[in-house]
Symmetry: C2
Subunit: 335 residues, 2 copies
């Protein structure tokens, strides 16, 4: 077993890229970045505040989505889970009287079983993730934002909900009036994350929910300092396109938490951190307002329906980083 893959391989830091990502949207861009960068050049720092225990298993929804996507085995219909997965274990769990509200497939279950085993054996989440990802042939560095448990809690009219309860069980139908990250005060960026953010040409904020996906990553004490001190170019891709989120509750959440539901709102949330933001053509008219925040804007097609879309957006993002001063060497690898 190889546990040493959590540490980025030594190579020219100017050629390395870090991405911050949550689930499906972030995974797609990370996949595009991986495809156009040399092997090992990409590190993806992933939100773990959605992690939870189910049937005694440690489930890391965002890590799994990014891992499956980078390994090329993700379910293309849902974006999460594994292509061609089946539901026999879940049917059996239902026979045992368990509520099958969280759709764990049979192959997916293997991931949760092994992660739980590795954790029980004393491996950190970073080590367990590296072990699983390297077995699946992922050639980027998949890094949990921290090794400490953090839990996103969502305030709603129905009370405080655990994130998966809100997001999956209740299908994000509740109005969100507040978000907290329980345990975040005890969390710290791992040494792998510190290294990944410290010596890179660019840090890419993927088009993930800024509140509950990128938000927890930035809320880890010490993370903002790492990003601010990094002499890299920092660029985001807006997850809001034409006033809506491509997937999930980001738009509703921005609205009820008092933010503008547009790339301007996203840019404002990241203001002070970003050098630039990539927005969709439909939002082109908003560019001047973002530039007023001191953030440069790149306008392109940001909706990723195919692998080609992912790579095209990744190339645009990296070229944009280049125009902002990053020295980046692309090398389209076989996907």
């Amino acid at each position: 077993m190889r546990f040493d893959d959590s540490k980025p391989k030594t190579q020219n830091p100017k050629l390395r890229i870090a991405a911050l990502a949550g689930g499906v949207g972030g995974a797609k861009l990370a996949h595009g970045l991986q495809a156009v960068l040399p092997p090992g050049a990409l590190s993806v720092v992933v939100n773990t505040a959605d992690d939870f225990k189910l049937w005694g298993l440690h489930i890391s929804p965002d890590l799994d989505t990014v891992m499956y996507t980078l390994a090329g085995v993700a379910n293309p219909q849902t974006g999460w889970g594994l292509a061609g997965d089946t539901w026999r274990a879940l049917d059996m769990l239902t026979q045992y009287g368990r509520d099958p509200w969280f759709r764990v497939g049979d192959m997916d279950l293997a991931t949760h079983v092994l992660r739980t085993q590795l954790r029980h054996e004393g491996r950190t989440l970073t080590e367990a993730t590296a072990n699983l990802a390297s077995s699946l042939g992922v050639r980027s560095h998949l890094l949990p934002m921290c090794d400490e448990p953090v839990e996103t809690l969502v305030e709603t009219a129905e009370g405080t909900l655990n994130f998966q309860d809100y997001f999956v069980r209740r299908r994000h139908a509740d109005t969100v009036t507040g978000v907290t990250f329980e345990g975040i005060d005890s969390a710290r960026p791992t040494s792998a994350v510190s290294e990944a953010l410290g010596e890179v040409a660019a840090i890419v904020f993927c088009p993930s929910n800024p509140i509950v996906s990128i938000g927890p990553i930035l809320a880890v004490p010490g993370m903002l300092g790492l990003i601010e001190r990094s002499r890299s170019v920092k660029v985001a891709v807006s997850p809001i396109v034409g006033g809506a989120a491509l997937k999930g509750p980001a738009a509703d959440m921005l609205h009820t938490l008092g933010h503008e539901v547009s790339p301007v709102g996203v840019a404002s949330l990241y203001a002070g951190l970003l050098d630039g933001i990539v927005i969709d053509r439909v939002d082109a008219a908003l560019a001047p307002r973002i530039e007023e925040l001191g953030i440069r804007v790149e306008i392109t097609d940001t909706i990723m329906n195919s692998d080609a879309d992912r790579q095209a957006l990744a190339e645009t993002v990296l070229h944009f980083c280049g125009t902002l001063g990053a020295h980046i060497e692309m090398e389209r690898a076989e996907v």
Copy 2:
């Protein structure tokens, strides 16, 4: 969730039957007994010395075989595992670099996950077993022989092997020169087992391997005393028919450990405990030698190829117990 099912329901003790069982052979007779007895009248005390950890999961092979068989969901081809199970999770575990030597099906995996969860939450194995079995609609009392961990170790020319290593991974090809039950000194019959054995009309030693299936049950300190003090009729069914075991390594094991490979050898191992033994017609000539041991003999067809065979053998066993003094009321229930 119902955890109270581990305690036999209060009813006339004269109508209750306890069976001691290991895996497939024992499960078949237990299934026959369940079919011809009133609901709740049967308690099955099951070997747990084959239990082991795999991928961090608590696996109880004999409990599962008996549970699936009593629930009517066992794989009829193999005798173990679940009918119609699939192997997607195992394929994925293999992709993760794990050796798939122990064939856990997808539905079967759900059992191990839930047992492990219940154990981690502090439930005893007895409580966890009752929870799972009642969810599957098992209407007998499925009782682990003890709640403490016990591990069968097999001495071979290749050294000491864990039982599953010997039995499954190495396909019981090694010559067994000794068997020990690690941890047995700290084990005790559970209160459910004490009650099940204390107030019954009959105790049936199922046709399971006398060395490594019934052996560990009898080796739990206090178990022999419970059986000896029980004012029930005690009857065994020989797992050896015509000098061979119907399944598994019982014949080879009896031979290399110096026992006669026949119902006489089996009866000798249980001598002092049994009132009677049921042997197959092919072994009829051996009856006088067994009767010399003070054990009465019933001769019948003991090979169970169908549900009807299981019920016929169960009826013969119970009638035999009746002739030996047990008051038993049969009531063929729907299977």
